[in-house]
Assembly symmetry: C2
Homo-oligomer: 275 residues x 2
DNA sequence: TTTTCAATACGTCAATATGACACAATGAAA
DNA sequence: TTTCATTGTGTCATATTGACGTATTGAAAA
């Protein structure tokens, strides 16, 4: 078994048809019961790349100043991945989202949030649901990579807004979500040579400087322009197009797209060495 | 935050004092209630290295031909890591076990085992406990690295024996444990340059050929003896001892030990490049 | 229109790392 | 005492890396 296939879903590949169950969340909040598994939740760090920056999709919680990663729960017949995809389809409007689980956060102290009973009451939450939210949660962290321009963010029942934040300017997150996000970023760095990260974050056509900026952002360091191009081309995973990017100041850069077949093959080897 | 610190516990480092709760498992089986969280379990791939081979610690299930990874459940106030450590201390007699979570297995079909009601009844299991075992389980996979010679394997309440198997000669495992084990191995390969795998699998003093054999086993390919030594020494993570291994046929090889400080520093960089 | 200039494309070269071997030394077993 | 599989050390051609130089482009400024 290859490393990649052992560790999870492939490039934008659907595991199994998702049940198209749509839940009216406001109504769900006001009812006593629910169909979700107890104790287990998931939180997603959704990354996009825009204007040379990594962006993260965050929810602004109702009656609170804090931001939160989009999260969700598992239904009785779902896998974690299916639950995460369902959650993110609701939040982004996208289908076929690339995601990877990366860590389970299970510190008993992580669920001991401030008492939000008052807020929940204002939101019209049923008492039994408040109890349910107050239980201990073990959360599986996912990171998701999406094409920034394709996303239509939608808040969930507990949040006012859902929008993009730059990593530097993001505010304080709820609970241990800062830690989850930091761990997601560290994982991204670690998996840069093993996962189709460029492919899923960039639009189909992109320039070499754009690809380089993405690598620099994830790795957190400057790379030499000329050496980057040499190495990247040597992998044979890029398809040089005849087009150039127009309407941009200075010399027009060439456009590239990924040679998906070679890319996946190269990732399986691990794009040997580091940067 | 460094990649390592973001991704979990460090080299044989205790997170927090473990509650020294010892459970009489036979009695626990015969009682109705239990203090464990529902739905969430953990399974551990415990690796040792002996006679130039990777070994895996497996349980032979009572009334069954199948083998199983040591597993366990979470108590109300434990983190996953603490639960895994508690489980493995019971199974191996070791303290300060190095372990890493690597994947969550959540396919709804994974819990749909053959009906074992008859077996469970023979074992004196309480009916409510049988129901509890029959629920859907989402299992967090851990791999653990132990020093083979230090382990005192002990079976649990559901198993007859607990002992080492070579990876090739192991029999068929229950449920999806084969997949969990394969994924653990793939993770080990992937993390060889980022985790203190040699340090935790080998005894304190070891020879260069032993270290090489370990790398070859995990990577699944032969390495050149001389190039391996050159590269390994260039990292500066080894401490050359004055002793040689005696009592062995042919030329006596030198002994080495890890220079822990340099080793950890090097791992944080990722022991650049691959083999 | 012409000029400017920041950004891009393409190339060079020394230093380093890698892969593939050769050869001498050792020490238990024959 | 000899044998010989195994270990310690070294060499060399080749590939890769890091650092930097120069020519080209095309929108924006003059």
């Amino acid at each position: 078994m290859s490393v990649l296939s052992a560790l999870g879903p492939q490039v934008r590949m659907r595991l199994r048809p998702i049940m198209a169950i749509k839940i009216d969340l406001q109504q769900w909040l006001s009812e006593p019961g629910n169909d979700f598994l107890s104790h287990i939740s998931l939180d997603c760090a959704v990354f996009g790349f825009h204007a040379g920056e990594l962006r993260i999709l965050l929810l602004k919680m109702k009656n609170q100043d804090r931001l939160a990663l989009p999260g969700g729960f598992m239904m009785a017949q779902e896998s974690l991945e299916e639950a995460a995809i369902r959650t993110l389809e609701e939040r982004t409007g996208l289908e076929n989202i690339f995601l990877q689980q990366f860590h389970v956060f299970s510190d008993p102290a992580r669920s001991e949030s401030a008492d939000r009973a008052e807020d929940f009451k204002k939101m019209g939450m049923h008492p039994s649901k408040m109890e349910w939210f107050a239980q201990r949660w073990i959360s599986v962290g996912f990171y998701a990579l999406v094409e920034f321009s394709q996303v239509n963010p939608k808040p969930d029942a507990l949040s006012e807004t859902c929008c993009w934040y730059s990593l530097e300017e993001r505010g304080k997150l709820i609970l241990d979500h800062d830690q989850i996000l930091e761990t997601a970023l560290a994982t991204l760095r670690l998996q840069l040579n093993y996962q189709p990260i460029g492919y899923n974050l960039l639009p189909r056509k992109f320039t070499m400087p754009e690809l380089q900026k993405l690598y620099e952002t994830i790795l957190g360091k400057k790379l030499d322009r000329r050496n980057f191009q040499r190495k990247m081309l040597s992998y044979g995973i890029l398809h040089a197009l005849d087009e150039k990017r127009t309407g941009v100041a200075h010399k027009a850069p060439y456009l590239y797209s990924f040679h998906l077949r070679n890319y996946q093959k190269a990732l399986r080897q691990g794009l040997e060495a580091g940067w």
